[in-house]
Symmetry: C2
Subunit: 333 residues, 2 copies
């Protein structure tokens, strides 16, 4: 199993991606193709005592910047680590790609370099988020497509369901549609029609609409959303969790009594933090394309990269793209 | 100042609305017209030693159910406490209405019985939510209009801004547009055009787009949203806050050490809870109509009703509807 790693994507590149690669090689027995400036990567590995065993290097002279036009990844910026990583995947040099680079560029690269599965209208960004259930839940689309048609939402349901079954190991994942009310008639015309399509869709276990209030409740394993409100839901979750964590921290630092309480709660606070830790959940897959493309969080540390590589491995091992392709064909028949 | 109270709306009617009325009369010196089955209301007041001083009663034989078609409030269900309260407001019997009844019915009643301000395309639901700033922030539209046009979002900005200035006492409230990215070019075509309209709008202090991550940050006093993603954001906030509170509670009950910590944190936990307590923020105004209509939360207790009545009073004292009407006219000139 060979995972292609864009070693120059993210806030802490190339150190943290390379550290993550080292961990993943040891823990999961994968091989890594690290893409980027080879001289720099070798220097960083040497300086930080990172073992390069199981690692190959692939040269890329440039880095794709977060502020560039995502579309440029396809034709204009062929010398960037992100483009070269995608191209290597398309050419069959490895089994999946991991990158913490620009989400937009990853989407464009996945769509036009790795290419969509036949019949897929739009690739989507699926993010696994923490919730009451140990396995969390997948929000799909988490921001790739601000405007969607009902048949796209229906496909997102299939893609998310296959991923959560094959990668997160959930049997018959429950799929819900993010909406402004529980009844089938709620939402915009697009949502009403998507609800009807998902109800008829035999490839998924559709449980109906879900309101924002219940996204974390564990009722659904896959929450289908248009990219606009999916993005709002995702970021609102992050914002509220951050706000409450900040309040909690302030509370524990207030005086001697509260600081004593903080000491008593040390282990539990660690667990609390771990439960909300995105690094535990690894990266966000871009679904609907012919091979595994995993987007790691921009601020990923070594552990987050390691987990994203693990996801990429499971994705490839289970041929998730092929299963999605078959499910789409069956659904259309 | 006379506030009309739908005494039969909400989960705890008529006891909690009447208790809230008693508190508001004492604390704010308002008069209350309590609408509903007079015999029942008088009995509840007697049994619970609720003083009826400053209270008038207005008979309504029926109660509008949460599951009825909201549109029916206008013509079919004229004997309900909600219809009669709205009608009393339209007829000038009081200065504003408070109800914890069906949001949809309140919107329909506000739009077609109390009636929209001239030039207002759509009435909107504004909800004041807790955040880093003491005054919280208003989310408008929080769910009334799933589909909107850019000019409606622009008007929501004006309505929310006037309300937060006049009722929450914030000078030059900062207005932002809920979107999937910070740049002016982000979002659907509706959001892009709304951003442009708000940029040109001299009646509001527009600070640009805001992402879900920052809604609670205090950067904006008014967050304009289409009713669909506004509803998603609102309910996601509630869901995450509930999830984290539950986790926190579980953590504090785990063992002797954590229970001791809970005792040490007693006062701070109270403050923490109060900060997230919707009852502190009162109800949600329906904006864009000719008089004050305040929707109280369905599960409101006496304190929440008292605060909603306080809001209704400040709304009426400051002629918020008239100020909105003038701002709309000035903006159009």
């Amino acid at each position: 199993m060979k995972i292609i790693l864009d070693a120059f994507g993210g806030d802490h590149a190339p150190l943290e991606p390379l550290r993550g690669a080292e961990l993943a090689i040891k823990e999961y027995g994968v091989e890594i193709i690290a893409v980027g400036d080879i001289e720099k990567m070798k220097k960083v590995c040497e300086e930080n005592s990172i073992s390069t065993q199981g690692m190959e290097f692939l040269q890329a002279d440039d880095v794709f910047d977060m502020h560039e036009d995502p579309m440029d990844i396809v034709k204009k910026r062929k010398t960037t680590s992100l483009h070269i990583a995608m191209k290597a995947l398309a050419d069959g040099m490895g089994d999946a790609v991991v990158s913490a680079g620009s989400t937009g560029a990853l989407l464009m690269g996945a769509t036009f370099i790795v290419k969509r599965i036949k019949g897929v209208k739009r690739a989507a960004l699926g993010t696994v988020m923490p919730g009451e259930k140990e396995t969390g839940f997948m929000l799909i689309d988490a921001g790739a497509n601000a405007e969607v048609r009902p048949e796209m939402l229906n496909q997102f349901g299939i893609m998310g369901s296959v991923y959560m079954e094959k990668v997160a190991g959930i049997k018959n994942p429950k799929v819900a549609l993010l909406n402004n009310g529980a009844e089938d008639t709620k939402g915009t015309p697009v949502h009403i029609e998507a609800n009807a399509l998902l109800r008829q869709n035999k490839a998924v276990d559709f449980i109906g609409n879900i309101e924002g209030r219940y996204v974390m409740s564990g009722e659904a394993d896959v929450i289908v959303a248009d990219g606009f409100s999916g993005n709002i839901a995702l970021k609102t979750c992050e914002g509220v969790a951050g706000f409450m964590t900040k309040m909690l921290k302030g509370m524990l630092k207030k005086n001697v009594k509260t600081m004593l309480a903080a000491i008593l709660l040390k282990n539990e606070l660690k667990e609390f933090k771990a439960k909300l830790d995105y690094t535990e959940y690894g990266g966000a897959p871009i679904l609907g394309v012919t091979k595994g493309v995993i987007k790691a969080h921009g601020s990923s540390n070594a552990k987050a990269f390691k987990n994203a590589i693990r996801q990429a491995k499971i994705y490839a091992e289970n041929n998730v793209s092929d299963v999605i392709a078959n499910s789409l064909v069956n659904e259309e028949e």
